[in-house]
């Protein structure tokens, strides 16, 4: 006991000594990053592969977006449209099934090899045959390993033809082709690195299409070349002098893996990094007040939500679903935990996507919620659990919601867990309530509509495991409406269909969508041209320079 007390006291003493030393210390000499190099602090621990046919994580999207080219890219001046990247022009056949792309002349890969339509065809073939996580984005057009060489083929050196199985809305097809999985790889270079594979029931091809090599290798034509990726440590990109567009201004861009907001802030203030990318509100505030630093932000295609598992009989009652929507203190969240990093947004399509609906009808209203709970026969409330990933802002949001639910008599037990742990449980539909973020798989309204508003088979064995499925929300009508919106060729009409869908989901769903993520960055003032894009693969660094 004595020992403990003493230890405790000495701990305070030590803290006191350190703190006073800290206050007495003068202004330090500043570390400086090299003039031709941009160093960003970013949590890159999600990266598992750099192969564009396989990569599907947020950090990888940024690297792929800067190191690979596509046929078409999102038009940053109007994100409901696409513009040509490697493609100079394209046409859609009258039956709406065949898309013909003509490539720009004189294109080259970073390796020096010319870019031909055969490279595009090979890129599609390998993505489909590898069948990794993002392959469905191309595969959903009725393309599989057996027909891909016919459906995605080179007509001649500069003409590429892509054939889909239904007359989809062209905006849908083109948006999907702007996803990173459709990045064009250097076929000649990749083929030099293919590894032999013994075919099996799960994979019937005799080679890996260079996947093992491309996990850490590079075969692209973007503004930057990937020089190195070391898991959980660093990503290094170097300028590609063969790039077809405007050449990058800096010679090198380095992403250092840094997970903590406070660590990023320290390193930014000390000048060891030029940009800090994972800042929490208080660090963001401090940076905004520092004369050498500045901040910037951009709304991202990611929404944060809580969802109620319909397997829980209490949560399955329509009135309870409604009541929850009145039991989130949106305003308090937005002025504290989400300050600067999120905007209140209650519909499933993020701003900037075709068909977005900017309506936030729900306000914190305990009386109204109590009324609804009483109608559901739960006037005295009930107990329920919520699985929460132990990181910000999830933890802070969960605590706020716990408190507001309590005011209506709902006892919420928070189950904290590692990201992978909570996700494992969520995917198995073993949760009561889940809080998390959802990022679009590709920049088209169907991506979120499909996951929030369709559930073709609600059985435990259901093959299409959308978010609606994970929460056991059985919705045959909405599923049909979601499918119909895909075939609407008129963009305006298509947008109206999604708006209608969002209104229904807003009103009846077990999803309480809270906010849309604002991606923020703190940066040193000597940077010029730094801008965050509307998606993770449009955080371009080619235009950045240093003074």
């Amino acid at each position: 006991m004595m020992m403990e007390k003493f230890a405790l006291r000495s701990r305070f003493l030590l803290a006191g000594a350190a703190m006073s030393a800290l206050l007495l210390a003068g202004a330090p000499a500043l570390a400086v990053t090299p003039a031709d190099t941009l160093v960003e602090g970013l949590a890159i621990d999600d990266i598992i592969s750099m192969d564009p046919g396989e990569a599907f994580e947020f950090s990888t999207a940024e690297v792929t977006g800067n190191t690979y080219d596509l046929l078409v890219r999102l038009d940053l001046s109007d994100t409901s449209k696409v513009k040509g990247d490697l493609a100079e022009s394209w046409t859609v056949s009258d039956d709406g099934l065949t898309y013909t792309f003509r490539l720009k002349p004189g294109l080259k890969f970073a390796s020096g090899n010319p870019i031909t339509a055969a490279d595009v065809a090979y890129s599609f073939e390998r993505a489909i045959k590898l069948d990794k996580s993002p392959a469905f984005i191309i595969g959903q057009f009725g393309i599989n390993g057996d027909n891909v060489t016919e459906k995605a083929k080179a007509v001649d050196d500069t003409t590429f033809q892509f054939t889909v199985d239904k007359a989809y809305a062209p905006s849908f097809v083109l948006n999907c082709l702007s996803a990173t999985v459709a990045s064009v790889v250097d076929a000649k270079l990749v083929k030099e690195h293919v590894a032999a594979v013994t075919p099996s029931a799960d994979y019937k091809y005799d080679n890996d299409f260079g996947n093992a090599w491309l996990k850490t290798g590079y075969a692209g034509s973007g503004a930057f070349k990937l020089r190195e990726w070391r898991a959980n440590e660093v990503v290094v990109m170097e300028r590609n002098d063969n790039y077809h567009g405007e050449k990058a201004k800096l010679a090198r861009v380095i992403y250092r893996n840094m997970k903590e907001s406070s660590g990023q802030r320290l390193a930014l203030e000390a000048g060891d990094i030029d940009v800090a990318r994972n800042l929490e509100p208080n660090d963001l505030d401090a940076i905004a007040k520092n004369a050498d630093l500045t901040t910037t932000s951009a709304p991202k295609g990611t929404v944060f939500y809580i969802s109620l598992n319909q397997k829980n009989p209490n949560l399955a009652k329509p009135e309870v679903r409604q009541a929850f929507k009145y039991l989130v203190d949106y305003d308090a969240l937005s002025s504290t935990i989400l300050k600067g990093i999120g905007e209140i947004h209650q519909t499933f399509l993020p701003k900037g996507v075709l068909g977005e609906l900017d309506e936030n009808p729900f306000k914190f209203d305990v009386a109204k919620a109590k009324e609804l709970l009483a109608k559901a026969g739960l006037a005295d409330g009930f107990s329920v659990t919520m699985d929460v990933r132990s990181r910000q802002p999830e933890t802070g949001m969960a605590e706020s919601i716990q408190q507001t639910l309590g005011q209506a008599g709902i006892k919420l037990e928070i189950i904290p867990g590692d990201g992978k742990q909570t996700l494992t449980k969520y995917r198995a539909r073993n949760h009561d309530i889940y809080i998390g973020q959802w990022g679009q798989d590709y920049f088209d309204p169907n991506s979120n509509a499909q996951t929030f508003a369709s559930n073709p088979d609600n059985s435990d064995e259901g093959k299409t495991k959308t978010l609606a499925w994970r929460n056991a929300w059985d919705i045959p009508d909405l599923t049909k409406e979601t499918e119909a919106a895909l075939l609407e060729k008129d963009s305006a009409k298509r947008a109206a269909m999604y708006q209608d869908l969002q209104k229904k989901v807003l009103e009846t769903s077990p999803f309480i969508i809270i906010h849309q993520q604002l991606e923020v960055a703190g940066l040193r003032k000597n940077l010029k041209g730094f801008a965050l894009g509307p998606s993770f693969d449009t955080n371009f660094v080619g235009q950045i320079s240093k003074e």
Binding site: P28, V39, I48, D202, R256, K420, T424
Partner: protein, 355 residues
Amino acid sequence: MSTVESEATAGRGSARAVAVASSIARFLVIAITTYLGLLAVTFFIGRVIPIDPVLAVLGDRAPANVVERTRREMGLDLPLIEQFYIYVKNALNGNFGTSVLTTNPVMTDIRRAFPATIELATLGTLIGAFLGVPLGVLAAVRRGSIIDQIVRIIGLVGYSVPIFWLGLLALVLFYARLQWVAFPGRLDIVYEYTFTPITGFYLLDALWQRQWDVFRDAFRHIILPASLLGYFSLAYISRMTRSFMLNELAQEYIVAARAKGLSETRIIWGHALRNAAVPMVTVIALSYAGLLEGSVLTETVFSWPGIGLYITNSLQNADMNAVLGGTIVIGSVFIGINLLSDLLYRVLDPRTKVR
């Protein structure tokens, strides 16, 4: 030399050989059992934690059909006991599989990460031993004095303050405020891509290649985490030295030495410390082993790319092959150092040779 004598010598020699062989055999049995236990515990912990290893291979956003296919490919649909059998078989061949995070074989990653940990722990132990032993001796000699009190407080703080907390404080002070030491990591970005390590021990490599600026930079990076580890090992070493020394100073031979009129310096440093040195070897070795395995938090705080950070990252990402491989390697080192200190003890202390 007479025949009788040489026979007697041979007899003693063979008795000794038997003794050595039996102690080696005993050690082997202990080592093998420990290993199997370690394999089983790590494997089953890896399988019962509520994290799906498939997520590590595929990331958070993989569609359901891909998840199911990958689960089959990873053999996770097999019965647990069969998975364990395959795992042990591979592990015995030194094959811990591929890390899904780095895409390298786990052993390759460990070979790269381990020198970083050894470098840090060695420097830490050196600091701890060079400061801890004299401090312990001083405290023992001046027992009850103000010096003794100070040494004991230093030791107590080192024992009771969590290392990550002290690490963060030190970072804020020495890095962010004073800028005396460098940013977490092993080298500045500038050198990361110009310097080619040979052995993986950056300080030695830089010296060997006469790259003084690299040496300086590497030193600026290692000094803070090494000092912290050194402090923790100092706390342990000084306390143990003190108690060993007190024990020796109370022995009769010290009284005899004093009676013979030997100088106090010779009595303390020449006689008492020499005898206390034998158990000290074990203490320092154990502290070294402790730093090797216990640097997990320090490495995390200081982004030190050693084995501790490797295991932490792997664990957070459910990269089970890497976690298991790393744990086994650290376990082996622990077993190895224990054996080594045990042997050294026997060599240094003549009394332990006769059994």
